[in-house]
């Protein structure tokens, strides 16, 4: 299972980086959100994949032994997803306003704050 997930993570990173390097703002935002998902999936995979194991101790155990599910990566991902959701919502509103103000979605035309007069 790790191998499949690793391939998925790699695919998401590749797609994200490709989209970030495009000139369209919309693709830029989609690319950034893909990079966020890639990072989440990476945390999930790195946290160790176990099947059918409880994340808690049995009453008769004093410490966790053997294969147990670690709930922390899930908690981290949950937090990251919520944050990512908020940031993406903001980014979408931002590109809408920028499109309305400038009339373009090509990053190459958005250089007025960069150029030296």
């Amino acid at each position: 299972m790790e191998v499949e997930l690793a391939v998925a993570v790699g695919g998401l990173y590749a797609a994200g980086i490709y989209l970030v390097m495009r000139r369209s703002i919309i693709k830029l935002i989609i690319g950034l959100s893909l990079l966020g998902h890639a990072a989440n999936l990476l945390i999930f995979t790195m946290g160790g994949l176990v099947r059918g194991q409880p994340p808690v101790m049995h009453p008769w155990e004093t410490r966790l032994v053997g294969g147990f599910a670690d709930p922390i990566p899930e908690a981290l991902i949950l937090t990251a997803i919520v944050i990512g959701f908020g940031v993406q919502a903001f980014a979408i509103v931002l590109i809408k306003h920028t499109y309305q103000a400038t009339g373009t979605e090509d990053l190459k035309d958005l250089q007025s704050s960069d150029l030296t007069s």
Binding site: L32, G36, A39, I43, T79, I83, V87, A101, L110, S117
Partner: protein, 502 residues
Amino acid sequence: MSNALPLIIVIPLLTAVIALSFRHRPGIQRAVGFAGSLVLLCASVPIFLCVLERGYLSTQIGSWPAPYGITIVADTLSALLIVATALVVLLISIASWIEIDPARESFGYTPLLHFLIMGICGSFLTGDVFNLYVWFEVMLIASFVLLGLGGEKPQLEGTIKYVALNLLSSALFLAAIGVLYGTYGTLNMADLAMQLRESRPSHLVITLATLFLLAFGIKAAVFPLFFWLPASYHTPPVPISAIFAGLLTKVGIYSLIRFFTLIFTQDAETLHRLILILAALTMIVGILGALVQKDFRRIISFNLISHIGTLLAGLGLFTPLALAGTVFYLIHDIVSKTCLFLFTSVVQRLGGSGDIRNLGGLYRSNPRISLLFAIVALSVAGIPPLSGFWGKLVLVQAGLIKREYWLVAAILFASILTLYSMCSIWSEAFWKDSSGTPVEFANPGRKASSIPLLLLAPITSLVLLILLMGIWPAPFFETAKLAAQQLSNPDHYIRTILGEKP
């Protein structure tokens, strides 16, 4: 006293929430914002004094013991930065009374500013890597909205670039956290420091360290990753740029210092070499960028990048003396960059333009204000006896002791170019006869004859602080030395958090 630490995070939160409930009453919002910043300063000073006395303060949120719960910890560096942050916010909220227009205020300028401060203070105090990520995001979201607030065209363009690169940095940071947790099974900084010390050096550690360097490097505007800064910092109203310049990039530097003194300390030769090279390139490339700019705020933005390089140099040298120099310079940089950015508003008001070619004759019309600018500019360039000089002196000394002559040369070269860049602002905007302005730059902007006290008071206080740090540097430097000692011997930090276990 340890239990008072979360107050530093709670005070800005409460201020923001109270200000938010008076959304349509700008007068009350401003008063709440000012009162909140004052309370924050009053809370941070006793904490700082207590840290000076005891060395460390730490508390576990929800009383969960260390590696499991979230730790909040203040050492001398954090406490010093908290005080500096509170001071800057107080002065900025005074300047905001006249600098921020009613439209921006009714869209929530004051609450956003205090959410931003909450994120900054949280980043300085947390002892947990994932918690640091969360504070970064709090800070980033507030800064995105602050930057775009008002919706002017250049502002929106600047915000897109800022948002894109900072989201990229967050994604890298998150990925690095995932790999870190997967490898070491903990995210508590003290616990990580211990685990990494016991494990054998491997390629994974270097990869992780580089990922963190990349993520924090984007936030701190380090050499190949700084392009978002000059594209965005000159677009929002002046108090917003001033607080971004004074504090936001410094959070990136703080995180780099924390990670590379506490966690990634083994096999450090390669990493330190890398940091030194980045530092030298940031210094030189940043200041070269400043030389070709003609807009006041953009010149200062590039100067800001160059001095990020100076700060990194101390981290790369990694001796207690160099770290002390970095800490001293960090405080100087927070004060002087905030002051310089506030000055851009003064110049805009007096000269009616932000382009230095349009300006002129400010010295003749306003000699006292010009003198204030001269003090800040010379301090930034590192002329004795002003605050910038002592920081650079210590860094140069540390570089000479470590025999990194090329780095010393880079610091000195960047200093000379900084002096040149400051002199060009001085000669164009202040000294040049205003009648000599070429016709094509004749500006239609409105000129004011005097500067409101609410803007002048924060600037004067910052200039006085610069003079104080320059003429009487001993107490500041003693504090910086203490902070550097703690940074270079993290054992005590680890023991404070994890208890007396080995």
